[in-house]
Assembly symmetry: C3
Homo-oligomer: 343 residues x 3
């Protein structure tokens, strides 16, 4: 159950740098590649000749050449040529709208007529030289909505990430959740606490002392179909928290683009954008490594939670205060799903 | 098809020494752990909050803490606490009766009201300082009853274990099978034969010559639901066989507790108890290693037999004299299954 | 969908040299072994006693002994003996007609009454001292007919085998396909071209220069149920191509015996027979290694093509000129399938 009329992150540019990439998104097996003038394109990964996956082929003069018998496919899904054949009557394959922006390749797996670029989220940090970004990709065997739940309720940090970003104060601080149109925002503020290891590292990276009390914040923003951006950070205690001056805090944005593959698997594009020391590549690498470890800790929990839910589909899960972010996000998703259903 | 109102071995104590253990028994996904004062406990492996497996959590003050969001579960399946939440209305999860005895953790996966400790088998060897025990655990992909068949017909030793405990005389000696209530006993006695390699080792371990003719015995005891204890041994020839004086024989008890996981998989707890040189830990380790190899030889045969039977469910298998032990054991199991069926 | 009344290659002799072999052919789980006087035999891989796979047993005095409890099975599927048992009433298992010829073990998985040795193809090269053969076996997860298609349309060499035997001239040269009874022949001739790497090696192996223009040919012969023999080679340009004198060309026969396991998996016996330097074992090994790499390149394409077709069973594939060989071969197969269907 995923909306198909939406922009999803399909891949990172480096994944199609050398050759086409086969990836299933929202049930659609696609081949992603760079066509004429390097523009990112997405087609059905199915050669109309004999059903070979086009992702095993290569690009020549902007066309995708099937690696089995050399059929040349255009970016509109119409066959351009084939050795020794007339191709006019060949059946078309689907092509999917693609946009490359903010350092990602985005795809619209649903009705192409509705693919409005204006529906892409605006990511200011991805366009500014004052920000740096580092991230990665995990393949997770669970419903993408379990990942949304996970990210919209950071209480789990205390337990799942006890050794890095978790701390007891998180689940002691109350959360507030509000809905603004299709956006769901869950906020938590902790005052006068000790910074956990990950944030001590970030403080040092920002030339701040790592042994003083801090105010910490987590503000999670869900936007459809399944993007979660989380403002996180710590400021030296009493300096204003999230609103403290830049030189008193270390803040960043946790970036999560969650792309369904099937009903029970998804691609998880994770990363962090920060606006301090944006040119320090070593710091970027170090944060990326730490974050990769943290997000790897969620995987076993989520995949085994999925197994449990599949074994007991009849059970109703609880919806507590801390779950409000996920619950509200699912309501937004349900609205989109209802809108896609034929009348 | 397994009785659920019965005591099964769930795990060995060392498996829950440091952290909770997730294990499926008779179709029930359980978490086994040590609660208040170290008492072994078993609960459904399903957090009532969001379905996370509780086995990924930890124990604090005798309660099981969910590793996802910190819900604290009591050993009765009722939630004790959760950070920032009232938990009175939370749904209960199943708890399973547990007994720790004889060096094993036993669980009753069926109706708790019928879980009578008196139904646990009495294992005298496990309580006596004159006996030593060593054993292990294998995961086997076949119906647990194929393992019962296997152990109640040791003819297979000649073929499956030709290089260790098998010998031609086994399948030449007749077996006798008798049923006493719910117990099935299959006996085989071989006289004046050469000891096979495993028993030569045991003779040497018992300070007896390993190059003389021996009398050998195998007396298999099945008791429900799926316990098989086998008296095995050799005595110097003509000294009385199983009844020979202690210093003329090397005898022991092969211990097999067979715990269904699903219809076609099971946990196989195997071991050997002996009443000679009980304090010789090196001998225990050596026997354990040898036995581990022997029981590993059964695995491929049983798993591929299972595949064959699944492919041909319509075929009736033969029930020969040598199969009487297994056949009678299955009749006992069938009686228990019938008794569990709702009227 | 495979004909069962046909001779298929079941295995190579070395696969049953030391012990019985379990292999599924056309849906039938078989055990292949050498019985009385070393004659190759095939039986159902199912012991009538308890369903154990007979392929885990061993041969004694020409009979197959079950490795579980010692049942002795004759090559006709009737139990010969069992320790301590009368076996007259034991049910029979299926036996399958077997012929060993041309360096292969052939089996007839269908109705034994129709198993006519005269229906075996005649392979002159396999009986002549002027020819050498080297080959191997791959397990491929696709419908065997996708492999027939692959081999009856060598256009794919340009794309799949670009670095070894492929070259642009292949898909530029027209193919002609003709049907002679149950045989389908697809021919392609290329004139005055550069030899690709594999053929340069063969030319050198035949003491011919590898830097001159050549004429190249590919003549594919399909015969039922799924044998494809391909005459391939190069001659120095203008010497007559396939008809050039022996010392002006390097030619050989690509040998492909394709044996279905299930509807979507098969055993692929591949090899090459050549009539130059037949005694040069190093050359045989070198060709075999090169060919093994080439045929390995087809595997991913075929298996992923199969996945695509299973996902889209409703789609009709195209049948182009280049596909005529495969299309005609499938017609022959369809005729055989229709003939096997009960009226």
């Amino acid at each position: 159950m995923y909306p198909k009329n939406a922009w999803y992150v399909a891949c990172m540019p480096e994944e199609i740098a050398d050759k086409p990439l086969g990836r299933q998104i929202c049930g659609e097996k696609m081949v992603l590649y760079r066509g004429v003038e390097g523009a990112a394109k997405a087609l059905e990964d199915f050669c109309p000749h004999r059903g070979a996956p086009l992702s095993l082929g290569f690009v020549r003069d902007g066309n995708l050449v099937c690696g089995y018998h050399g059929l040349e496919m255009g970016c509109d899904g119409k066959t351009v040529a084939m050795p020794g054949q007339r191709v006019r009557g060949f059946p078309c394959i689907k092509s999917f709208p693609v946009i490359e922006r903010y350092g990602f390749i985005w795809v619209w797996p649903g009705d192409p007529a509705q693919a409005d670029p204006a529906k892409l989220p605006h990511l200011a940090w991805a366009e500014s030289p004052d920000w740096a970004y580092g991230g990665g990709l995990y393949y997770i065997k669970c419903d993408y909505r379990l990942m949304v739940d996970n990210l919209m309720d950071l209480t789990h940090e205390t337990y799942v990430h006890a050794s890095s970003i978790g701390q007891k104060e998180i689940d002691e601080a109350p959360v507030t959740t509000r809905v603004e149109g299709d956006e769901v925002i869950t906020s938590r503020h902790m005052e006068n606490i000790t910074a956990p290891p990950f944030w001590k590292m970030a403080l040092r990276g920002n030339d701040l002392p790592d042994d003083q009390a801090v105010d910490r914040w987590q503000v999670c923003h869900f936007t459809p179909p399944s993007h979660v951006l989380i403002e996180v950070g710590v400021a030296l205690a009493g300096k204003g928290g999230i609103d403290a001056p830049q030189n008193e805090k270390a803040g960043s944005i946790v970036v999560d683009f969650i792309t369904p593959e099937t009903e029970t698997t998804h691609w998880y594009f994770w990363g962090m954008a920060r606006n301090f020391k944006p040119h320090d590549k070593e710091l970027t690498a170090s944060i990326r490594e730490g974050q990769g470890k943290v997000f790897g800790e969620d995987r076993e929990m989520l995949e085994r939670q999925q197994e449990n839910l599949l074994k007991h589909p009849e059970r109703k899960l609880l919806m507590l205060n801390i779950d409000a972010g996920g619950v509200q996000s699912r309501r937004v998703i349900d609205r989109l799903l209802a809108a896609e259903r034929p009348a």
